[in-house]
């Protein structure tokens, strides 16, 4: 019941978020600051995770290839498509739901509790727009960039693991990498990246903006931002797959 009421509240809140900014320069500065925080702040964790995921994908596929008639060069093809279609975008987004989702919910929730939001409202600032719109724009721009980096690093990780651990040759991997490439898969990846970016940010901002109570409730809001964000990413992943890949 609460989910339905929260969804209604969220839909009603959207026009406030996308209303005309009071001062474009201030919004621009805030958007750039958010881009830096989201992008640079998450780069290392995204690279570490995607590198390992690419490596694990290569190792596991090589294990499954043993004793089969599947040509060895398929390793590059499988790692590439796994990263492009699913691993890079979904895992990166789930990691970001944890990292930036909790940060955003705590930041905005903290501002609510310290009366910063009330202070801005009394100044005449549209706080829904000023606090949320720059974060949404920054996420929708930067998360696809992070996903692209995750994809490249993941394929790199897969290459290293395939060549150094699993016993494939470099030419086998690169041949697979160049085979059966479907550009449409990259489109799917970016559709997912933009959708997941919107989900992560809007869920986190919603949880933070409407927090009531004290530090315990703020912690709960932060947790909800991560949990709901991750679940919604997986649901959206399924819906996008059904729509774009069927």
């Amino acid at each position: 019941m609460r989910l339905i009421s929260d969804f209604g509240k969220f839909v009603g809140w959207l026009p406030e978020i996308f209303s005309r900014p009071e001062n474009l320069t201030m919004y621009y500065k805030e958007t750039i600051r958010q881009m830096y925080d989201i992008g640079i702040g998450s780069l290392s964790i995204v690279m570490i995770i995607s590198g390992f995921i690419g490596a694990v994908t290569a190792i596991q596929f090589s294990y499954q290839l043993e004793g089969t008639m599947i040509p060895p060069y398929y390793i590059g093809y499988i790692v590439r498509d796994m990263m492009i279609i699913e691993m890079a975008v979904t895992l990166t987004s789930i990691v970001l739901a944890g990292k930036i989702g909790s940060t955003m919910a705590a930041e905005i929730g903290g501002m609510r509790q310290k009366e910063h939001i009330d202070a801005m409202e009394i100044m005449g600032v549209n706080t829904s727009a000023y606090l949320v719109m720059p974060k949404l724009i920054a996420s929708v721009v930067i998360i696809p960039v992070l996903v692209t980096i995750a994809c490249i690093v993941g394929i790199g990780g897969g290459y290293l693991a395939a060549v150094t651990i699993a016993g494939f040759t470099s030419s086998e991997f690169t041949r697979g990498l160049r085979s059966f490439f479907i550009p449409y898969n990259v489109v799917i990846m970016y559709v997912k990246a933009v959708t997941f970016a919107f989900i992560i940010t809007s869920v986190a901002c919603f949880q933070g903006y409407f927090v009531t109570g004290g530090s315990v409730e703020l912690g709960q809001a932060s947790t909800r931002a991560v949990v709901f964000g991750s679940i919604l990413i997986l649901i959206a992943d399924l819906i996008i797959a059904l729509i774009l890949m069927s």
Binding site: N23, T25, E115, D118, A119, I122, M123, G124
Partner: protein, 253 residues
Amino acid sequence: MIRAENIVKSFGTQEVLKDISFTFEKSKTNLIIGKSGAGKTVLLKILVGLLQPTKGSVWFDDINLNKIDKNQLRELRMKIGMLFQGNALFDSMTVEENIRFPMDMFTTKTAKEKQQQVDYCLERVSLQGSNKKYPSEISGGMQKRVGIARAIVLNPKYLFCDEPNSGLDPKTAITIDELISTITKDNEMTTIINTHDMNSVMEIGEKICLLHQGKLAWEGTKDEVLESEDELLLDFIFASPFLQRLRSKALSQ
């Protein structure tokens, strides 16, 4: 001038404010006093439009706060300054950035003009040279003064202060009271202060409204406080045993 007409506020079945009406005049420091839980903060939030009354209306001169749309409300709010009980200074910004924030957001002033206004406001609150400090690096009293400087930076017509003396020592509290009173006169603002500090009542209370259990129990000036026989007012003012003893002694003489 700010006028409240028959304000009623309920949360669920609980009626927190019961048919409250008053008028606060321009260039005066108007005080809302009362015990904790009397409904002062709820009333202040209704007056600034952060809460909607269940019944009644709030007027800022000839503008009905409860009948205007969101854009008109934002325009009106640019004429309002507010000092919060917890100061509500943005922790990640310096003193100067905090004060400049409303100007950055709403004015097209040049950087030099903004700097001059910030310096002027800091001078008004006797905080020259604190521009680059962060709120965490200054005392509670200084934070209050920064809050006042930020509240007056756009030359508001209306100033609201929620418990401006809470957490301050008596001397600093008097300084803050005097500062608010002086700025009110100089800028010809309508100022409303929410307080339960008796020093404030007797020093700067040009109009005083006593709230008791959500009702307007008494209203008058600080001079009328001294002459009043109102039980609720006397009970509030002479709440401490020390003041009660002083009063008994004075009456017996």
